[in-house]
């Protein structure tokens, strides 16, 4: 439904989005994850034809954003970070105006307005001035505005920002219920939101793509099933981490050994093993038999937060992280 290829946006001094590529299948909910200023909004603005890309291409429902912007715009419902409301309009008046902008008219328009109000639970503020609505209602009117023309694709920029916990839950449920009939991209910097609502995650940082994976795979990583952390100490006060690393990496079933930190004669390693291989016993034996002390051995219970922080750390090259992301 959405296909992004080497999408790039350069400003005078900075590159906001740097060669991002990903695909979204029809009916999916994709979480667009990244710290503030990562380029999420810029990418979304390019997808909605608000900003033209500097390089690369993006197609929505088969239409290129640069070549056929009108066709793309017809198929996209967009909720920007701040809902684009006119404070002097009433809710229904506003939805009718947006509906007309999107090409609806007559009974069809009335039907869609009623449907959107119903769907977003704003029927009780139909005749209120938008300027007088609370934050939660404003957000929901913004969402109603985005679905008014029954678009194939919904692009939601931080749809839950600034809401209270109850409203956040309601909004998430609403978004989930909209999936299936719509393809949804939503951006957020809140991780649990992705876990709860999305099927697919695209993580970007400083304009670069860090990882794209399904939530399930990321969660499997989070459970740490295939990853072990161990702390090794040298007995006589000195330790050659490279030697330990080589020793551990030579074991059968171990795919990768990383030296995470080293203090004096102690070092912490993270060992990734191949799928389905339990290597903890072998690791312990190898360490002890080599004359080192094994201080600690535990499954790397990485939370999604940690994965996120690790992936978005600036010193980590994107390619490496991407490779890790693809290999749970």
């Amino acid at each position: 439904m959405i296909s992004v290829k080497d999408l790039t946006k350069r400003y005078a001094r900075t590159t906001a989005v740097d060669h991002i590529s990903f695909d979204v299948a029809k009916g999916q909910i994709v979480g667009f994850l990244g710290p503030n200023g990562a380029g999420k909004t810029t990418t979304m603005r390019m997808l909605t034809c608000f900003l033209p890309p500097s390089a690369g291409s993006a197609t929505v429902a088969g239409f290129d954003v640069l070549e056929q912007p009108l066709e793309v715009k017809k198929r996209i419902g967009y909720l920007p970070e701040t809902p684009p409301l006119y404070p002097e309009m009433e809710t229904v008046e506003y939805l009718k105006f947006v509906g007309k902008l999107k090409g609806l008219s007559g009974p069809e328009l009335q039907k869609r307005v009623d449907y959107s109000c119903e769907r977003c639970a704003i029927t009780d503020v139909k005749t209120k001035l938008l300027g007088k609505l609370s934050k939660g209602y404003r957000q929901r009117v913004g969402l109603a505005q985005a679905i008014i023309h029954n678009p194939d694709v919904l692009i939601l920029d931080e749809p839950t920002a600034g809401l209270d916990p109850k409203q956040i839950n309601e909004t998430r449920d609403l978004i989930k219920s909209l999936a299936g009939s719509h393809t949804i991209i939503l951006s957020t910097h809140i991780l649990p939101e992705v876990e709860q609502t999305c099927e697919q995650v695209v993580i970007i940082n400083k304009g670069k793509l860090v990882a794209t994976d399904s939530v399930r795979n990321l969660q499997a990583r989070a459970r740490g099933a295939e990853s072990v952390v161990l702390e090794v100490a040298g007995r006589n006060g000195n330790l050659e981490p490279n030697a330990v690393q080589a020793k551990l990496a030579a074991l059968a079933g171990v795919s990768q050994v990383l030296c995470k930190q080293q203090v004096d004669s102690r070092a912490v390693f993270q060992v990734e093993s191949e799928k389905g291989r339990l290597v903890r016993g072998d690791l312990a034996r190898a360490v002890v038999e080599s004359g080192w002390d094994l201080n600690e051995l535990r499954p790397a219970a990485m939370s999604l937060e940690e994965i996120f922080l690790q992936l978005t750390k600036s010193e980590m090259p994107a390619e490496k992280a991407q490779a890790q992301g693809a290999q749970p």
Partner: protein, 255 residues
């Protein structure tokens, strides 16, 4: 065409929901009412004097009452009302972020621009209609020629169209309505006083006074439909709207 109407209706709605339209209509209604009342009084005093001194030269309603009044409308509305009408057109949308809604809807930039401009012209037309009320008295008690009056109002509308197009353009350049209003006011004022170099006979002075928006209204006020003045205003309108559309486009590249 349909999209232009949608935008235009929304803009007119915003004008008449917010106090701006009523403030403009109320304020200028009073101002022009007073102005007309005083110029009518002056006209009557002069004609009385002329009769007493036995002047053989008759007073002319069109020349001595209607035309100076119309000229005042052209200058005062053209300088003071235009910035108040155009300042919010784009600046407000940029400030509140609603420009993103318009720019991501399946309509062309030019349709947005023209829709907003037409709404501004319509509000200005309401102001002009308000000034026309004063002429009811002239027609009731005198016999002025009505045809020059129609031509004059056509000219006033054309002049406003040009200035409103420029004001719309200026409104796209900033998020701040006050800045938009101040710059538009300055430009409208400049385009009026730029014609004051008429006393000069050099070529550059001719060029400068050609750009005076108010100079081009004079033939209209005399009841003369001159194609060169019509073309002048049409050009200003075209340039203003064209610049607005370009500015909207560049907004996308910059923001």
């Amino acid at each position: 065409m349909r999209n232009i109407l949608v935008i235009c209706r929304k803009e007119l709605g915003s004008y008449f929901v917010s106090p701006i339209a009523y403030i403009l209509l109320g304020l200028f209604g009073v101002i022009f009412g007073y102005m007309f009342w005083t110029s009518l009084g002056r006209f009557l005093a002069y004609s009385m004097e002329a009769q007493m001194s036995g002047s053989s030269y008759p007073m002319n309603l069109n020349e001595q009452l209607v035309r100076p009044f119309l000229y005042n409308i052209a200058v005062i509305l053209g300088v003071f009302a235009i910035p108040l009408i155009t300042m919010r057109l784009f600046a407000e949308e940029k400030r509140s972020g609603t420009i993103e809604l318009l720019a991501t809807s399946p309509i062309r930039d030019m349709e947005i621009v023209i829709g907003k401009w037409i709404a501004a012209v319509m509000l200005y037309a309401c102001l002009l209609l308000l000034t026309a009320i004063n002429f009811i008295f002239v027609f009731r008690y005198g016999h002025p020629d009505w045809k020059p009056l129609v031509v004059a109002y056509l000219g006033l509308l054309l002049q406003a169209g040009g200035l409103l197009a420029l004001g719309t353009f200026i409104s796209t350049l900033t998020k701040n309505q006050i800045v938009a209003a101040a710059v538009t006011f300055g430009i409208c004022l400049l385009l009026w006083i730029i014609g004051w170099v008429e006393y000069e006979t050099a070529a550059w002075a001719h060029v400068l006074s050609y750009f005076s928006v108010v100079n081009h209204i004079e033939s209209f006020l005399r009841g003369v439909l001159d194609s060169k003045d019509i073309i002048f205003y049409a050009t200003v309108i075209f340039i203003g709207l064209f610049l607005t559309a370009r500015s909207m486009e560049s907004l996308r590249w910059r923001s």
